[in-house]
Symmetry: D2
Subunit: 337 residues, 4 copies
């Protein structure tokens, strides 16, 4: 049994509380910390099976019975708490991104060097049944050498402009998942990024200094070309697809929907929309990533997504920002560390 | 070059005129006959490339340059004109059904015995790309031994009550195609039929003595069970599907539609309806059956659908009528010849 | 919090243990009984969160703190334990079928008359996301008046002959789910049944006195015609589909599979097989039926599937057996109670 | 009746001969010219209904009875013969591309200025049922404002290196169709192009100075972003898809295949591959473009694809070449005329 402390009781923190309490029998949430912990949240957590709650995450780090922490707090705290937790000897599961600042990520990398703790980054989509199936097919050689990777990633609703301002921009906030997906499917890092982007969904996003629509082309180290298309608003729901094309064929996914029911009538043949958003689509993936983290701790193996997997998408995101600003292809190696 | 005379310039006669003139380069329509031949029809036919038109089909039978006739006249004339044409030494393509009366079909069978003419019945669906693919898969052993055959056949609009009265009833008018399809897919004849039917679409059809909705179960000679479901009205268009299930798997078809375009929006994910009706769905099949008929003449081989293939579905239809009347399973062998 | 006792720790009993422990927060398994309770099973159960285990189900009935029992024992015990449990004042969730003998079901009905207990029968497929979507569409009038209902239900592997002998036959063991589905989708009872069936999968099933392939036609009280096709062996996996056709259109489902990934290569365009069997396909449905049962207890409402819903499919199954034996359509009313 | 002369009896010339002879009743092929006209070709053409054949295309231009010419000769002759034909007062249907040299296209534009002839360029894919459906949906506002356009275009087999050398490169030979498709779907011109390309299919293509795999991003005048992905070799067949995403939804197509038959067995659920190549996929589109050309002549209206529609994709192709060479985004306006 692995004792876990969770730092952050926001949306994603609660997802992990629920996953662990209902689907990870060999882990226990011993303490849930949030500076804004309310009685309601505390009651909900205890109802789920959490042992105790606190406002101070340092209690988690100080508790000798806690083996591992999940860092689900705001992005700016990810890297410092990571370092603290590593120093406290706790295994760390850190939500993405580790940081927007490469130097801060480097501090985490440095802290890990002299430690024995497991570190996993929360790129949950790798644990989605559809993307796992694509990656497995690619890794099994079913498409041969990879030539082209296509990732479509569109949200059902744009964030508010306030959020956009602190988000680090679409590339570090939203596309970062797709950057990881491209690495996952290609089985290698990106070399270069080119961005074509626009504000087509909401002018307020443009006023906040960001874009809401983008097509991002990447040259991968293995020679494959990848392309990501992003939109902050797809009216039909969360559009999450991937296609990998190679010398021996293609593997592609469709979206998941609530049922396979299709109605045929005078208006056409109509199936259900994709599942609405990430909580609907990736609930099982959130549980699976934690199961893998716990398993890596119990079996003393590497986590499936280490700190370097947390670094690369940030480099890609920073290169994408630079490409957009300078309107030219940007090499990942240009992003100084 | 095979010279053809076409008897009947109604809907299906015109389909064959057009097919031959545009898609069967080794056949020529020398004469088109219809008792109600108008100047407009004649002009249309000549514009298509038909040499001449007449009101008297006997001119076709008398023309020594004509090798083959297509009988597209009203159902009651199919068998007598078949006999006349056979006696005149013409190859015969006869629209379905040969007759509703088994004795009349027997006269055609008898006439063919002492002749060298080719005889083909117009079960066009065997030449449809989808059903051909299903039959090919079955014949190639891809589903193993056949256990269950399912045919869905629904029209987009019911016929008028006047037509229903002279149609011979749904089983001989509409289901007869499905009876042929079941034989085509099973590769054998039916032994027994059971009908569950109702008037659910239009009470006028019931008043005309017919049904408009049916589920028909058949025991095939090879042990397989077949089931046909029919409706005279599917608001979403012409629903024509088949599924064959066996010891090694299943092969199934979907409907054809005008395009593969699918629209995703707030209401769902919507593709096009099936093609509207038989002219849209089976246009290529109509041309293909005639090509096969012409080829059988040119190469002196059997036609793909001989007179016995015309007889069996009529026996099945008559057994179905008897099953409906007597509310019990009826053996095909009960239908006296 | 509803305290539950589970009688039977076989496959389905364990499914319910797991569902309740992980997905039904407002229920607790206080006691799990099985005459063959082993230490391993007991340990597993306690690991899942079950309070205690026993070999004697009567301990469950005698425990005043237990509100409800789940009867997951062998079929022959369903009705007597139901009666006992009702008399002990426990709410009852009973696996299907209640009994193969109508008189025994009547005893349960009688026992319920003077009681206040909730009774639910385990037709789990009603809680499957796909069939729920079909039923919702039908109930919302999206297909108009129902004309034809089609249910395909094929198992991936046949049971062994030993099981077949005690199973009550395919209609009461396997088709009984489809009989319930037809009632669920039609919104009414069946009036008459006709069976066409054969032994095509495994001669040993025939030697055990049963069939393994069937097409079953039903006349429903609302005038609709239903047809079920069953096979004990579909090599491609568990085939569970439904289609409802009516005056305003059609609603149909496809199977679920492990992912939407599709591989295109020289051999074609290949997607995954359907999920293997009922544990894969209906896991969420098993949890949902129990949630509904617990909710009915907590809110003091009717269960979604009462004892009469348990009776009707048995009547349909017995009528189907009679139809097969007498080779004729059989009215449900012929099955004496 | 429009009298047509066809210049060039190669693959595409023959496609047009066949289309006109069998599917365009209001046009007649009076003369077919090819410098390498053989007796076999001549016999074939006459069998199809062509009146006469010649080795000298100037006979076509000199024939006062000929209304229109189809230029299906080698690419380098397209523009000079266009100019000659325009001066001879013939309506012109010219295969794509008009020329690789913008100055040569300008000569055609200039020649048209003082003439009354109709000019149409052979971008056949606009007449494909699937792309027509997408464009219609976009034009009808069904996806709202267009944000992202995606075109996938992959050939089943790469051309030989010899062909590659004279082809003008992949962008002017293959992608040119996709450039036109993007304009068709966006309803406007492109402003800027960025290319990421590689030699992944066949090193001989690289040695011939070309690429075989590309992802091309375009900024459209209406603000939309378009992305084309190309490969010279998709082992599963001709992959021709489009997706348009906008403020109100998405419309997307799938490939066509020979049938809808799907086989389910132990290996999965397998449908047919896409139709093999352009002759299979676009046969109906080739006929339709000629019907539209003939209609424009008969009704004295604009052709659906004028000379400026021939120019723009060439500009896009030249910009793409420059982008590849200079590894930067290139504005269409940089391509000097």
């Amino acid at each position: 049994m692995v004792n876990v402390g969770i730092i952050g009781a926001g949306r994603i923190g609660r997802v992990h509380v629920e996953s662990i309490c209902t689907q990870v029998p060999n882990a226990k949430v011993k303490l849930l910390a949030d500076p804004f912990m309310t009685e309601e949240t505390s009651a909900w957590a205890k109802g789920m099976g959490v042992e105790a709650t606190t406002k101070d995450y340092k209690e988690i780090l100080a508790d000798p019975e806690i083996d591992a922490v999940l860092i689900c707090s705001s992005t700016d705290t990810h890297s410092p708490i990571s370092v603290e937790a590593i120093k406290a000897g706790k295994h760390v599961f850190c939500e993405k991104p580790i940081d927007h600042d490469v130097a801060k990520i480097q501090e985490v990398i440095d802290a890990l060097k002299d430690s024995n703790v497991k570190y996993q980054v929360g790129f949950n989509r790798r644990f989605d049944h559809n993307f796992e199936a694509v990656q497995s097919a690619v890794a099994a050689g079913k498409v041969g050498d990879v030539h082209v990777i296509k990732v479509t990633s569109r949200d059902p609703e744009p964030p508010c402009a306030e959020y956009v301002k602190v988000s680090g921009g679409m590339f570090l906030d939203m596309t970062i998942h797709d950057f990881d997906m491209v690495r996952f499917l290609a089985g290698c890092n990106a070399e270069e990024v080119y961005v074509e982007a626009a504000v087509l969904v909401d002018p307020a996003i443009g006023e906040a200094g960001d874009v809401d629509t983008a097509v991002i082309t990447l040259k991968m180290e293995n020679g494959a070309i990848a392309v990501i298309d992003n939109s902050r608003k797809a009216v039909y729901g969360y559009d999450q697809r991937a296609e990998v094309f190679g010398s021996k064929g293609m593997v592609a996914t469709a979206n998941d929907s609530a049922s396979t029911a299709v109605i045929s009538n005078e208006n056409g043949v109509t199936g259900e929309k994709p599942l609405y958003f990430f909580l609907e689509r990736y609930m099982a993936a959130y549980a699976k990533e934690i199961k893998c983290f716990i398993k890596a701790i119990e079996e003393d193996t590497d986590t499936p997504l280490g700190v370097m997997d947390g670094l690369q998408p940030v480099l890609m995101g920073l290169a994408a920002k630079k490409s957009l600003e300078e309107h030219r292809p940007v090499k990942i190696s240009e992003i100084t560390m």
